[in-house]
Symmetry: D3
Subunit: 244 residues, 6 copies
Amino acid sequence: MKIRVINPNTTSSMTEKIGDAARRIAAPGTEIVASNPSSGPVSIESHFDEAISAVGVLEEIRAGEQERTDAYILACFGDPGLLAARELTRAPVIGIAEAAFHMATLIATRFSIVTTLARTGIIAEHLLQTYGFAHHCRRVRAAEIPVLDLEDSGTRALDRIIDECLRAKAEDNIGAIVLGCGGMADLTGEIRDAVGLPVVEGVTAAVKLAESLVSLGLGTSKHGDLDFPRPKTFRGRFDYLSGD
Amino acid sequence: MKIRVINPNTTSSMTEKIGDAARRIAAPGTEIVASNPSSGPVSIESHFDEAISAVGVLEEIRAGEQERTDAYILACFGDPGLLAARELTRAPVIGIAEAAFHMATLIATRFSIVTTLARTGIIAEHLLQTYGFAHHCRRVRAAEIPVLDLEDSGTRALDRIIDECLRAKAEDNIGAIVLGCGGMADLTGEIRDAVGLPVVEGVTAAVKLAESLVSLGLGTSKHGDLDFPRPKTFRGRFDYLSGD
Amino acid sequence: MKIRVINPNTTSSMTEKIGDAARRIAAPGTEIVASNPSSGPVSIESHFDEAISAVGVLEEIRAGEQERTDAYILACFGDPGLLAARELTRAPVIGIAEAAFHMATLIATRFSIVTTLARTGIIAEHLLQTYGFAHHCRRVRAAEIPVLDLEDSGTRALDRIIDECLRAKAEDNIGAIVLGCGGMADLTGEIRDAVGLPVVEGVTAAVKLAESLVSLGLGTSKHGDLDFPRPKTFRGRFDYLSGD
Amino acid sequence: MKIRVINPNTTSSMTEKIGDAARRIAAPGTEIVASNPSSGPVSIESHFDEAISAVGVLEEIRAGEQERTDAYILACFGDPGLLAARELTRAPVIGIAEAAFHMATLIATRFSIVTTLARTGIIAEHLLQTYGFAHHCRRVRAAEIPVLDLEDSGTRALDRIIDECLRAKAEDNIGAIVLGCGGMADLTGEIRDAVGLPVVEGVTAAVKLAESLVSLGLGTSKHGDLDFPRPKTFRGRFDYLSGD
Amino acid sequence: MKIRVINPNTTSSMTEKIGDAARRIAAPGTEIVASNPSSGPVSIESHFDEAISAVGVLEEIRAGEQERTDAYILACFGDPGLLAARELTRAPVIGIAEAAFHMATLIATRFSIVTTLARTGIIAEHLLQTYGFAHHCRRVRAAEIPVLDLEDSGTRALDRIIDECLRAKAEDNIGAIVLGCGGMADLTGEIRDAVGLPVVEGVTAAVKLAESLVSLGLGTSKHGDLDFPRPKTFRGRFDYLSGD
Amino acid sequence: MKIRVINPNTTSSMTEKIGDAARRIAAPGTEIVASNPSSGPVSIESHFDEAISAVGVLEEIRAGEQERTDAYILACFGDPGLLAARELTRAPVIGIAEAAFHMATLIATRFSIVTTLARTGIIAEHLLQTYGFAHHCRRVRAAEIPVLDLEDSGTRALDRIIDECLRAKAEDNIGAIVLGCGGMADLTGEIRDAVGLPVVEGVTAAVKLAESLVSLGLGTSKHGDLDFPRPKTFRGRFDYLSGD
């Protein structure tokens, strides 16, 4: 089984880290292809970054379709381009935010999210509402660390995340923490140990969900609104997307 | 990894069928222990049946805890006793209704449920609301077949289910069907082929979710409201449940 | 009119207290039969306790049906086994949580709940959502007293409940308090006096609702999903529940 | 105990009918004072009628306060002026729509409303949402009969209501019917017999709820947003409402 | 284009202030007629005040209909009598609460309301729910100033409003403030400057929405539930409302 | 005042049509700049088309920022890239779907949407939920016409839209229709005349809302989550987006 883990930003060190986390959790027969678009933002910290990154995500899906991919993971907590990505393939496509939410609700009645920057909290709020998990999340919290600080071991990023998780544990009446950034994939264990709560991380959760769907023979429904896009003309620098 | 698949009713032929379905989908290293309580209803078709069956479910969890079980599955579509079961163990416990809902939302924006009897539709409605999936389910449909007719290959159960699924496909503006009874676990393939839609079945979905959580090192949170029950005295024929 | 007030736990002193509270509020022609199951937990402080207690509740309903009972009350704030109980009878069955919620919304736009242990708050949250009162409840608060401490006049239980009620009054922007445990039935007056807010207690509320429904000639609907359970075989120690 | 049943419209024959229905259901010690404003519309079939009728409702509350009234009932299905009425008194005030909704949810998981004119359906929809019962009501149906036709025994009003109730029973997957007009108070028995479902009528339901609250010592909360209005100057023909 | 801005209370100084605010924002061709009922409360600070004021609002609509009015604005934050007013005319009718909510959601993902008295917060909560904006409003705050203090430049009203807005900015995770009283219409600029957030004021917002609808040729729908009220008899001092 | 009306697709004939509709409704002092990206799909009929078109939308915003633009309109019914666009400017940015929803709720209690293809209905459903209008929309209907057929006067597009609107009028219990495609901007009058209901069209609605916000001095909040994106490096063909 080949799973393409797409890091929607263009920071290859983060792609590697995410790929490593995916590989560590993957089943023996699972091949993880970690990739990131060649074009796009180095981190995703706004709706704007997210919108631009969606193009790269979709190109990575198209690339994946060229080489028989069994499932895709979008490894940014805003799940950028998720429904569009699903239209391009029969394979399952899983966002790491939804993956983490699903898993968290299976082990706790209520959870809080600890993300990077407060300004992206609204993205999580919208996803919670659309996915149906608004009632399960007590609070969206931010450690106020830029995404790329997670790449820099010299920063106090880990400490700040743990501090915020501990505040969530003390104040939010929750059973679990959801980590709100793909760049935290390598910190899960340390956070879990320090916080003493189940900590759900989306990249690893998504790998297992992807493997699960493939095993079940379930792929993106092509009946209805996730069917392949109607072929049409694209103009200008998107002309390569034109269908017949 | 050992997963205990608990059929909450006491019909052993259904337990075997469910166990077989679970084994067929399980990963190589997964051992499936299919069991059912020795006491309780032969099928679950009402809130009453469900309430009684919960006792058996909980005893099966307790039995599982005696032999180091890694995860539990409750193989009745009403997820009877789910939160109570979670309190008894650090292992993950997954209901087949929630499992099917989670998986369905990953491959389609909207689904319909096809269950056995109309009277149990309200159980599904309540679960959809509590779990957060009310907006994702277009309609709860019933094929109007008693559960145990699913055990009797002479009945027209399969035809009626397929008919109802086809009506859902034609009328409900959906991308997937969720099968609303653990007793349909062996019919998934035939239904899928006849209907031409992704068909999500809960037993198989739950096995993969259980394996996933175990791999992720995630178990039921013991922080907060799913912690082990406070030990106390139980009277009468439940005195064996008394703690110290 | 005969109302059976079922204390779902097996602590007879609590049953007496609840029965007394019911009798004090009952109309002249109303006979209160206070009972508790002979088997089950001495207090209900978890989903597990609740699930086990439901069996006793259902047996008490069955016992009541043998002697022409006009209405039933389930005197535990989690309303354990409520829908199952309704299936067993044409008489109305009322949970004390729902009773308190209904009454509270008739006298205040918003209320808070003060319950015993924080871990049972999730039960109240789920009921509020299912019943439709989630928007009317500002906050679920816990005095952090075990249920049976309410039986022990030596404990500081009353003080702690009053303290929590006063905090609710000061902070929650509410018009009324709902007491979140049947064991508080005898404390209502003292709490009300100390807090200076309307205090809604479920046992007494339920008695009046039960009398009301009986007077109105309204009983549990037997059309649709609350109809009597389909008769079937029960195995093992539940074989006495088998129908024909 | 004295309950003032206020018919918000000015049709005294309807007031009598409503008063009779209230008296038939009232407990022995309950005195029913049925009244209607001297000023206002003869029937309430629009938001406009409702807004004008609210003035009369409030004057009837004020009149009731002059003579020590224990509870009030607003006998129009839109519950016109309900929260304003509550501000004027420490006594409970109950609308017949809310009364019917509360009672219906105690005996059935889902109900439908059968009201007079389709144009007033939106009023019921808004009440259902504000009160929290939107999920419990499957459908708001109209028999398309003007309110005052209910006063005219020569019309086919009863037949049309029964027809619509039967359609609800056949199509809506419900356990009970809520009658959507105070003017149907005398038809409940006939409708129930013809339809074969529990039929919840608001005037009678409200009488029992009012008696219940009074027995419980519960009145409108004067803490917070239902406190007495701040005294102030009213100008023009409302100058008699000025406080000091 | 003629827009009638109806101040639902009877304080003419506030009417003038509101009229001035409306005129300052109105387009060149827009004539603003600011009026208030001759009868009713001098300020609206409760459900009771609101219910009485609705009569005056409706009379002002009727007056406006005599002189070819293109649109109406109800300049009290509770939008009293809004749906009733719409029934009386083909012209658009806009409440200042809804106007402010609509505009706020176009410039910020989340807002808070700063109103006068805490007791009227429930009115805003109900409007937010009915209109659909409950999720967009983080918090309803009160500066605890009586409405008419806004007319008295000697009071500290402005300071208190600004203080509360600053608290909202600091604590609520919002992008904009909605002012919760028509009497604040002249303070918007000062508040905006002091707070450093977009501040949405309803009177001015409503003027632009009214002009917009008129330009678009859109008026209140007369198909369905906002159609003109059925003509009927009104009794007593409302007999002048009787239709034929 | 200069408003940039951005047609998110690359079909210039549609851009012209949309620009003409905008100019016809614009106030005298308003300059309409109608533009479309040079790169992107010729029509938007899927999540994929929408995701790609968002890049062009954002570039058009950036172009607009070079020439002092007062407000922006996104003239595709899915409001593609709306929140991202808002991050790029202090000017208001309005999507035509939201514009139409806001206006429709001001003139009717309930509306239905008539869009082009059923597969895009899910986009409308998600917007309704996120914006808060889910309860106001009875039904999302599709005329099943590809977007570009709207450009071809030879097709029966208009007839099919009118037919679907008439079905909505007959079946949906609504007061208004919302047209679900920017390409219908020139058909509004004909549809309105044929259907006999208020018909709300988003491009024209958005122009008036944009003018309104500018007049009010209200622009996109730069406090909180719609602030300008943090400057950062973009790689590959998006390197021109890199900030300092």
